[in-house]
Symmetry: D2
């Protein structure tokens, strides 16, 4: 079978590195270019010494996006800030090249929600309609036919997978009082320079951030609206953990007339057939999914409190970003869904 | 002024070491003995190489508790498991020696709550009536006159200080739906050997534990009953952070008809006069209180969600254990409350 | 091609887990059993929640070693303490089953060196003669024909690969004054319970250990004797780094009449054809080889001091243990040497 | 007794914060100003939330240095880059105000060594003659009478204290072949922004740096020249440890005709009277001195190798910088040497 020709645009950050790591061992893919604005001409294995066998050299993002044709590349991953991602998605789409955008720029159907949340004008509302928010366990068929994937955010991935089966019992839960307390490793902040990202500032330290309204909140609310047909104001509080990788989401949902058995059966029925989502009978730990594309979930019904507590863990750089992006690509190109990811 | 003669019983763990550290620099105290069951005859600076100038040798717990008189020691700190703490408190109390017990054995007025929670028979219900749960910012006067202090648990300390001012607006909040998501550094587990306490099991890892009902829950509920006059089933979920020290409690409380201003004024009015509790205008970080007896708190009103979120941080070994124990001792002996603690 | 049938004996530790991780994705291998003394009957994915798809159940080490035949298993990996490894190697060897022993029991040709170093009697000196110390970059041909592999220690692997090319200029260096200062992540200690392996004892801490003579010293000396034909007393000081994985060896060797160019060419000529050893032009970092079977090396000639300093990094659980074991197996069974390892 | 009036210039970094922490609890000192170029007008407890009771506001470095008189401040600590430190030391010295400079600008007697090492012109060679490199255990009397202290570097402090007693047996050791392998926590890098200082770059990572000639090497060589009367080319290789604080120096020195006993007695005779340097009978750990002004040392004679190995640990921010600076101040002002430091 002809290999899928893949390019990565803006490949210098942590999600870019993770994409390279996955794609290097992917048997059905040929990595044809890496671009960057600042690293043009640099050898990739100089920038990423952890990939000594990587033979590519960084190309210029602007040049590549101008000159490349769909004969040369089948799909492009964008690991860029939101603004350039908007434009470059448009450019590649016009050329007939598929795009998986890892920024938030194509995650929302409603242009206004994006603009209010990210304070950036979005000139392509028609592309928002065509793009697919790509969470395979939720909408595999849509992904298969998509030209543009808005790859889900890391927190929304862990939370959406934690919530999805509950749609079957939506009349027994009160999502209007949902509280989500998430915790993430530091790589979620990316490689941007700021004093509060220095080692000493995070090591042996823990704190919450992002209030009053973290930018991932509307993405979670959009998911709930789609699945539960409810407009809710989600209370979502993220925290940072002094470690590299991993998201742990603790989700509190008022519920009544349910049992632990019901919950267990519900989640098993949703996820036992999934290659990457594992419903287990104990509270999961982030290390159990570290460097994998797995999501592990446990849901506990606390009768005493009238609440369900869902625990959901992922590796923020893999299932929360680059791994999920490759999973989406596999689906789009009829490749075995787990290829490159186990 | 005569120095207070102090003994530490069961001094080999992390809270014992922290007590020694504090008491060594305390100007009004003389440390007269350290005891242990397993380290009898060992030089303390061999067991704690971080205190090279500590000249004591470990005595035998049983011998000391049998032979010591109140002429030889004014107060004893117990850093022991719950069962021996019950008995030794009784023994020292009978001798007229004051006791600060860092276990849970004297934290509850209601013997049944203790027994149901810890699955241990408590033969001295009359001592439970005499003992004082010692959170200085809550009940300084009672502490002053106490013979026995049940030193509060680490989580309950961070949470109680976060809740205390809200008693002034108790009619505007719904404590029956309180959700508490706490996170603690590993030293909170103590020095007990188990495979899941090895470095590799915690490093780069994060998880929740203690469900369905962590043992600190009834202690929090007792505090709420006392202050808010309500019987509530608290939903409390603790997690472990891969670091040594620090507790971060995120407390979610439904509320209405309040403003951020009201909250700020309320907390300031409670805590501005306190030497160790600091209400600040931003989300606190555990590192800001590391190795101190401080508690830092911020409360945020999220109108969109109809909830107050209180953030409260302490060092679990200091304000959450040994520092608070010394603060209690200072109050009991009319010593400057901050002595040894700044 | 028929898959190689593989068993792991004593699979409950960190090297066992790493072996499972590698072998699960190895295309030419079928994992036929895992044994343990203490976990008999337990599902493997209960003990290793990080492998949710692993369907094996732990068998009893003794039963398996008694009853298994060479029709049922082609090769056995032993991740055991030294004493049982001695006996089990003998048992499997007698049955005609190949063995890769990850303990030190079959690393020495000279029985007396083993016995003096490990204080254990070795009853099978004839097996020591047959067994091969398996460092592929050094003795690939011998490995190919071996029945028993004594898999090299983690420190000796990093150090031997750092030294190997220098045999070409042995007359210009003074190995009798070699000083080796190595540093290792904590997983090198294994899963044994002891107070000094608790999280708090290692976190934010660094120290040396193992003097006056760490057990890996004779293994390094045996390598030097074999390659440089010199009996030297190596000065080797290991340290522990507060992190999971990685060994960093800094090797100081007096040298004269050489140049940086000469060094660079020498190392490149040795390693450019190797799939896992990478000579680079800058000081390597342990994270660059984390979770890989790679070794990265840089050698610097300091003319001012008349010394070569060699920097060599590996992941102690992969190239320093389980990865190298699989690399050896691949060679023994004519499988692509990198299979399962990239 | 009148309190010593103290100012800190350039107080925004890690050593500045450590100075504030120490001086806040120092009973004989009044902190009269903090300056900065970038934080003028900011409240200090906003910049350092860990000091909620600190009431100062940042002044402008230039204004303060221009207008302050020796009636207003007795001594100034400079925690600045080398170039401004050169000038400001000169300015304060001219006013008759004592200076403790924590940069390298006044550590060398020989202007050329400074200029070659730091590539900065030094216009005040006469001040270099007056200034004192302040290691109390080495030159307490000189410090007492100094107007300017060049506070020693962190690595040189740990190494010099490790070497000092050996001057008594200098004919038995070969310093020309000394090898020093040091390891430091990340706070040693300071707060400067660079991609390689981000959390993810250091966490779970270890490496060497600073070759071919780290800037602290000439400072070590100057110490050796002064004490051992030898010009040696020291081989010094520093590494970074993924933790906040602590330096571990492993020092290898060829030696002959000595015994372990001799070494032990020698070090004890030097250090048993010292309040901060502790010679112990086991290898020290960095955590044992964390957050203290202590240095712990063990020296081991390895007869088999004909080498002494000295292990020396300090907290790089305390004994390696701010604690030692305060110790020097105490000596200069006839204050109890341990005040503020225990």
């Amino acid at each position: 079978m002809r290999k899928v020709k893949v390019g990565i645009v803006g490949a210098s950050g942590y999600t870019g590195a993770e994409l390279i790591k996955i794609l290097q061992k992917h048997k059905s893919v040929e990595l044809v270019f890496l671009t960057s604005r600042t690293l043009v001409g640099e050898k990739a294995n100089k920038i990423f010494p952890e990939f000594p066998s990587l033979k590519l050299t960084f190309s210029d993002t602007e040049e590549v996006s101008k000159n490349i044709s769909k004969e040369e590349v089948d799909i492009v991953f964008l690991t860029l800030p939101h603004e350039p991602a908007i434009e470059l998605t448009h450019i590649f789409y016009q050329k007939g090249i598929k795009v998986i955008d890892l920024s938030a720029s194509y995650r929302f159907k409603d242009k206004l929600i994006f603009e209010n949340t990210y304070k950036i004008h979005h000139p392509y509302p028609e592309l928002l309609q065509k793009s697919v928010w790509g969470l395979p366990e939720f909408n595999r068929t849509e992904i298969k036919n998509a030209q543009i994937i808005g790859n889900p955010g890391c927190y929304p991935t862990s939370i959406s997978l934690g919530l999805l089966p509950l749609k079957e019992i939506k009349e027994k839960i009160d999502l209007s009082n949902i509280t989500i307390d998430s915790k993430s490793g530091i790589s979620g902040k990316g490689k941007k320079l700021s004093e509060d990202s220095l080692f000493v500032e995070h090591n042996e330290n823990f704190y919450a951030y992002g209030l009053p309204l973290h930018r991932h909140t509307p993405e979670i609310e959009q998911f709930i609206k789609l699945n539960f047909n409810q407009n809710v104001n989600v209370l979502f509080v993220p925290h940072v953990i002094p470690m590299d990788r991993g998201i742990f989401s603790t989700i509190y949902i008022p519920a009544e007339n349910i049992t632990q058995n019901l919950l267990d059966e519900l989640y098993h029925s949703y996820y036992d057939k999934e290659p990457f989502v594992h419903y287990i009978d104990t509270i999961p730990q982030t290390k159990w999914v570290s460097n994998t594309n797995n999501c592990m979930i446990h849901a506990k019904y606390l009768e005493r409190n009238g609440k369900i507590v869902v625990f959901s863990v992922i590796d923020n750089l893999v299932k929360g970003a680059s791994g999920q992006a490759v999973q989406n690509m596999n689906i789009m190109f009829n490749i075995e869904e787990t290829e490159g990811l186990t």
